[in-house]
């Protein structure tokens, strides 16, 4: 079965190629079939591979499929090969399955859109690139997939390109992630330069052997890669692009900007975990970035009024949890949270898509309300997804994965009570904003009657994801529930176990505090947004409330800050320093090339005799060279 691995990215890619070439002339129905089937087949193959992986694990816990050598010069060989281990297997399964359901959903959601086949082409291309990113065995393939998903994300955010606002959002996303990508490219180059290979596994082994604990190189490489991960995963301070990315079609937001692409940063750090084990500073940076992001995004989510922006901030916040998990060495917990998050966040986005469709593309939650009766499926999806997101104890997937991360933050030797405390505050925030969203949207008075009903193509994926958001957590039961760490055991071949350190509390006690935070948030949301809405409004209306609202609403003023910190100074600098030395180099080069061009242009006189003269002059010179030597 393993030898089918290459088909997993190849089939979506073929689908994308087909759709791109023949798409414009294709019936929408055919395009949808091609789009969904390619991903479906890919998902089935992933499942077969996973089956075999479980039953006949490959030697050493990993399987490498070498397809061909791309370049080989002297002792430098660069192959196109895929690497499968427990880590990439989990990612591959989640990506293919979630993608498949989102594709099915899109085939109804996008119905009648002008760019129907274009949408599916981009989506397929995205899945193919994402799989290349996950499965690539060397840095080059990884980078290729990394850039590929970036391009697809850009194309899909700007999918409705006729509205310039969407184009701007796409550009913002592209440029912001580019900042991170540059850091990452430098980091990758540093690794290659220092360790002399591009193969990720050999790199990790070489790093372990050649670099001492706390080595400068490992720290630098780790921090640079973290930069890339922050860009792609929308972590502080590069998170500002993700909420704007919601300009894309909702299935896109569900797939790319919630479930898969934005977690590429998590994958990158998990894949290079050896580096972070060698560089405690870099690892601490990961944890701090995660903790800070999860709190900041939590507050920002609390005051948004656009349904998709709330979810976007919550995505940022949840990825913050994953980073926190990675940063404290709870590797498997982070991956576990990635999986459950993919389920419930995709679910929430798809459900919000249903709401948005029935509300005629209205996204402001304050213009909704009382939709519980009208859209029961969406309502229940939101309830289950929201509970999972906020971590309703025992029955939801999110509870288990988040609990594991928080326990890691508290108990691991790298963790600390402070990080854990931030995490718990995050839980409180999460449950507050989640239930605020649910209560405002689905309860209370009804402002608009929803019109359209959604069909089964949108319903079935939602139901499947609902199920997964509940049962997805039962693959890992903590010690106080019988201690069945199946998921952790499975990942053990690829990622080290979470180290146990001294913890001030027992696991059950810590969990109790988390549960308390959850119910506190739920209760507050119930009180302020359902029972006494006027109270929350008067709070928001007071001077301090308005200021805070405004501050958080603009994502802690980050855009404003960037505008002041970078955009304006650079603009000012370039305006006032037009004749600066730095400028002179650029204008100088341009002037030299331009003058070179214009003087050389004069040689192209169009006169044949002049051309013949040049021919003769050339000959004369060359014969002269011969004569003189």
């Amino acid at each position: 079965m393993f030898h089918l691995l290459w088909l997993v990215p190849a089939i979506p890619f073929a689908g994308a190629a087909l759709l791109m070439i023949f798409g414009p002339r294709m019936a929408h129905r055919t395009a949808a079939w091609i789009g969904c089937c390619s991903i479906g087949i890919s998902a089935v193959i992933s499942m077969l591979i996973a089956w075999q992986f479980l039953h006949q694990p490959p030697a050493g816990g990993s399987y490498t499929q070498h397809l061909w050598t791309w370049m080989s010069v002297a002792n430098f060989h660069l192959g196109i090969s895929f690497y499968l281990d427990a880590l990439s297997l989990i990612f591959m399964l989640v990506v293919t399955f979630v993608s498949f359901f989102i594709h099915v959903y899109s085939s109804e959601y996008m119905r009648g859109d002008e760019g129907f086949s274009r949408f599916f082409a981009y989506m397929n291309l995205f899945v193919a690139s994402m799989l290349v990113l996950l499965l690539g065995s060397n840095l080059l393939l990884l980078y290729l997939g990394w850039e590929g998903v970036g391009v697809c994300s850009y194309l899909l955010i700007g999918f409705w390109y006729t509205d310039p606002k969407n184009g701007l959002a796409a550009q913002k996303a592209f440029i912001t992630t580019r900042v991170g990508d540059t850091a990452m490219a430098v980091g990758l180059y540093l690794l290659f330069r220092q360790l002399g290979t591009l193969n990720i596994q050999s790199l990790m082994q070489a790093a372990q052997h050649q670099w001492p604990h706390g080595s400068v190189y490992a720290t630098a490489a780790g921090l640079l890669l973290l930069g890339g991960a922050c860009g792609k995963s929308a972590q502080l301070p590069l998170q500002t692009w993700l909420p704007d990315a919601m300009a894309g079609p909702t299935p896109t937001s569900a797939l790319i900007h919630a479930a898969t692409m934005v977690t590429a940063g998590v994958y990158l750090i998990a894949r290079t975990h050896v580096l972070y084990s060698l560089a405690p500073t870099a690892q601490l940076a990961v944890a701090v970035v995660g903790a800070a992001t999860l709190i900041a995004a939590g507050f920002a989510a609390l005051v948004q009024d656009d349904i998709k922006r709330i979810l976007a901030y919550s995505t940022v916040s949840q990825i913050g949890y994953m980073f926190l998990g990675l940063g404290v060495g709870a590797w498997t917990a982070a991956i576990f949270h990635f999986m459950t998050h993919a389920f419930f966040k995709a679910l929430l986005f798809l459900a919000s898509g249903m709401v948005i469709t029935s509300m005629h593309h209205e996204q402001n939650i304050f213009k909704m309300g009382g939709l519980r009766k009208e859209l029961p499926l969406a309502y229940w999806a939101f309830v289950i997804g929201g509970c999972s997101l906020a971590g309703l104890p025992l029955v939801t997937a999110g509870f288990y994965s988040k609990g594991l991360i928080l326990w890691g933050a508290l108990s691991s030797p790298v963790g600390s009570a402070t990080l854990w405390f931030f995490g718990v505050i995050g839980v409180l925030m999460t449950s507050l904003y989640t239930f605020r969203l649910i209560f405002i949207t689905f309860h209370g008075p009804c402002h608009h009657k929803p019109s359209q009903k959604t069909g089964w193509l949108m319903g079935v994926p939602v139901i499947v994801l609902m199920t997964l958001s509940v049962v997805g957590g039962f693959v890992e039961l903590p010690s106080y529930l019988g201690n069945h760490p199946w998921f952790t055991n499975f990942l053990q071949s690829a990622l080290p176990a979470t180290a146990e350190g001294h913890a001030p509390l027992t696991e059950l006690g810590a969990e109790g505090i988390v549960v308390l935070a959850f119910f506190l948030g739920l209760g507050a949301a119930w009180f302020f947004f359902l029972q006494r809405r006027e109270l929350s409004e008067s709070m928001a209306g007071s001077g301090l409330g308005r200021a805070l609202h405004r501050w958080w609403y603009t994502d802690w003023g980050m855009d404003w800050l960037y505008d002041r910190l970078f955009v304006r100074p650079v603009g000012w600098f370039s305006r006032t320093n037009k004749k600066d030395a730095v400028d002179l180099i650029y204008t100088g080069t341009a002037a030299v090339t331009r003058s070179g061009w214009s003087s050389l242009r004069l040689t192209e006189t169009g006169r044949v005799r002049w051309y013949a003269t040049a021919l003769v002059v050339g000959t004369v010179i060359f014969v002269l060279i011969v004569a003189l030597l």
Binding site: T605, G606, R609, A612, V616
Partner: protein, 87 residues
């Protein structure tokens, strides 16, 4: 003679003369081949000359056809008249 043909090529604006100059140059090369062949007492030089002759005939045929065409178009044999493309 080769050099003289070269001068003709560079100096003349009339396409007819340019073609003649080219003939001179080809003929000069042929002469060089024949004398080189004579030096080695081989027939190869002469064979090469034969082919040069053929080529010269072919070039002249196409060249003159083109010349006629240009004349009908520009009403002049000035090669510089046809120098629309430049830059």
């Amino acid at each position: 003679m080769f050099a003289l043909g070269l001068i003709g090529l560079l100096v003349r604006r009339n396409l007819l003369f340019i073609l003649m100059a080219i003939e001179v140059m080809l003929n000069a090369s042929g002469l060089a081949f024949v004398s080189a062949g004579a030096r080695w007492g081989q027939a190869d030089g002469q064979v090469m000359f034969l082919f040069i002759l053929t080529v010269a005939a072919a070039e002249v045929a196409v060249g003159l056809a083109l010349l006629l065409r240009l004349y009908h178009r520009f009403h002049s044999l000035d090669v510089d008249a046809a120098s629309e493309m430049r830059g």
